[in-house]
């Protein structure tokens, strides 16, 4: 039994939320029972994802084959350091958001299927992080998409419905591009297993099919991830979600797209010069136009939504460099940003609770009213702004340092400039919501409930810890990046020892 548990470490982070979602659906009429199952499932998810992380660190890349069918014939789940870290951070996010949700989720939302959809989304996210099969990845993406739409529209306000429509259109297009790319890839290689693709691809002669497939992957994932100029759905929808949901979206969903890019463009398609150039332009555009959008907004959630885009640019920058240092920076950035951005959305919720509005033009006075919240806000806000020694500083450090080492000067310039504007818009929130005297006395304003503060404090602590004790995280990111840059360990873990080193022959 223990052996089964250990050997399937990579299964649990997907299985646990899926079982939770299924049970919640089966208990449809019993909201109380759903809530219980859901809370238990969330805790279990954190445990199993940390367990996976421990397994990967202790024993190297973990891989399982469903149905005992050997790769590449069956479907593989595999977790290297990157995948395991993403799963672990997903667990952390789930728990934090659930804690916050204790004070934010309404019964009406629970009755509308919050728990099912929430765990369904976690299933999709973890599935995407852990699968080793490109078509299977598509399936998890779709689970993510459908549950995200369900969650987004859960209160059915007009804004939510409109936002969901915009979310739906571009994300549907994205998954179709993705599926198209998968089909082309399958047509050109005859295989779907990502490790197998990684093994086969270098042996194939160039062909327009493969090139187009690669670029369609980029476009498809790019829409999900919110790259320039594909990000429009994000600022059009995220701010309409109820805040618990927006927080987990902000933390996780776009990052799945980024993760997929990292995976596909290291394992399957080697980033050649042309592709790197394209990625670099996209990265710069993403950083710039995201932060531009944020700079002009007055609604906290919209500021934060645009910042998601902007920050995604830094991660993409890491990929565009395609050096181990760049990849490491990108990975560190992803992990840091998930925590920080989810936290900021949670804080936006707390701001709303404490001042009765999300609109900075109408809020204020929170430094006096909720000094603890003010301090807790500073942590992720400054981290996002790249102020040392918080996590965001190291993230920027790694990415920009990698750009310097790669002599990508203009990217360095853009990245630094965007950092300043980021700090500016965080300052704006601080000044308007916390410093400024309240514009109007608000009836809707209430004290911030303890669960909200607890969730925020938890994530702020994580940010501070990553910042102050960055070394293990940096080392981890370096190792994760090394295994991306040289995927032979991954390939061996999936296809059997020695496969990657074996002479490759064209089919």
């Amino acid at each position: 039994m223990t052996a089964v548990l250990l050997a399937n470490a990579v299964l649990w982070p997907v299985a646990v939320p899926l079982v939770t979602a299924a049970l919640c659906a089966a208990l449809w009429r019993h909201v109380g029972a759903q809530r219980l199952v859901s809370r238990f499932g969330t805790l279990a998810l954190l445990c199993v994802s940390l367990f996976l992380l421990w397994r990967v660190v202790a024993a190297g890349t973990q891989a399982i084959q469903f149905g005992s069918w050997a790769a590449p014939f069956g479907v593989t789940f595999a977790a290297d350091r990157l995948g395991a870290a993403m799963a672990a951070i997903t667990g952390l996010m789930a728990v934090s958001v659930m804690i916050f949700g204790l004070a934010d989720i309404r019964r009406r939302e629970e009755a509308a299927g919050f728990h099912v959809l929430f765990h369904g989304m976690l299933t999709g996210v973890n599935g995407a992080f852990l699968t080793g099969d490109i078509f299977n990845l598509y399936v998890w993406f779709e689970i993510m998409l459908i549950t995200a739409m369900g969650l987004l529209a859960i209160r059915r306000t007009r804004a939510q419905l409109d936002g969901t429509l915009k979310y739906a259109v571009l994300n549907l297009f994205s998954t179709l591009l993705f599926l198209l790319a998968v089909a082309l890839l399958y047509g050109a290689t005859g295989t779907l297993n990502m490790a197998d693709l990684g093994r086969v691809m270098p042996t194939l002669p160039p062909s327009a099919t493969l090139t187009i497939s690669a670029l369609l992957f980029l476009a498809g994932f790019g829409i999900k991830a919110g790259y320039f100029p594909l990000f429009f759905w994000l600022p059009a929808s995220y701010h309409t979600a109820s805040i618990t949901i927006a927080a987990i979206f902000a933390g996780l969903l776009t990052k799945v797209g980024v993760y997929a890019c990292f995976r596909v463009f290291t394992l399957i398609f080697a980033a050649d010069d042309g592709l790197r150039g394209i990625l670099a332009v996209m990265a710069a555009g993403t950083m710039l136009f995201g932060v531009f959008g944020a700079a002009v907004q007055w609604d906290v959630r919209r500021i934060l939504s645009f910042h998601i885009v902007s920050q995604i640019g830094y991660m993409l920058l890491g990929l565009a460099l395609a050096t181990p240092a760049g990849l490491a920076g990108g990975i560190f950035y992803i992990v840091h940003h998930i925590v920080v951005k989810a936290n900021l959305f949670l804080i936006a919720g707390a701001i709303h609770r404490a001042s009765g509005t999300f609109d900075l033009r109408r809020s204020g006075g929170l430094l006096k009213r909720s000094p603890l919240l003010a301090v807790l806000f500073l942590v992720p806000a400054l981290s996002l702004g790249g102020i040392p020694p918080l996590s965001g500083f190291w993230a920027k450090f790694m990415v920009i340092d990698a750009s310097v080492k790669a002599e990508a000067w203009w990217l360095v310039g853009v990245a630094l400039f965007v950092g300043l504007l980021t700090l500016y818009s965080m300052t704006k929130i601080w000044m308007e919501a916390f410093w400024k005297a309240p514009v109007l006395p608000r009836e809707a304003a209430r004290p911030v409930p303890a669960p909200m503060l607890a969730a925020i404090a938890l994530l702020s602590t994580v940010t501070v810890v990553i910042g102050l004790f960055a070394q293990p995280f940096v080392v981890f990111a370096d190792q994760a990046a090394a295994s991306l840059a040289d995927p032979s360990a991954y390939i061996d873990a999936v296809l059997g020892p020695g496969t990657a080193a074996a002479p490759r022959t064209a089919p």
């Binding site: 419905l161 429509l165 089909a183 059009a236 701010h239 002009v296």
Partner: protein, 127 residues
Amino acid sequence: MTLAYALAIAVLAACGVHMMLSRHAVRILFGVAVLSAAVNLVIFYAGRIASDVPPVILGGQDALASSAANPLPQALILTAIVIGFALVSFVAALALRLWRSVGTLDGRELGDAERLGTPFADRERRP
């Protein structure tokens, strides 16, 4: 023959995209349906269209005849079809809900999401 398939699929994809570019939610939905049909055909095409023998092992035999059609793309398309159906249904529900709540499905009149907290409100009010 293969190129005929390619051409038809390309036209299909183009039509789907053209419909997705509409501002009417239902038309967009139709566009998604057409585009996803095109993509399904791409999967089919990618498995090479070479046979009209179903990939079912005849009684008395242990393995599939070599002349049979490629079963893997068929399985993949099955999955994709079902997923497409689910998504189309959901979006249809969304459209219905939008219609009930807002009374329009025309993109030019749907702006509740981005009007929320927009920084440009003051200017937009001006004619």
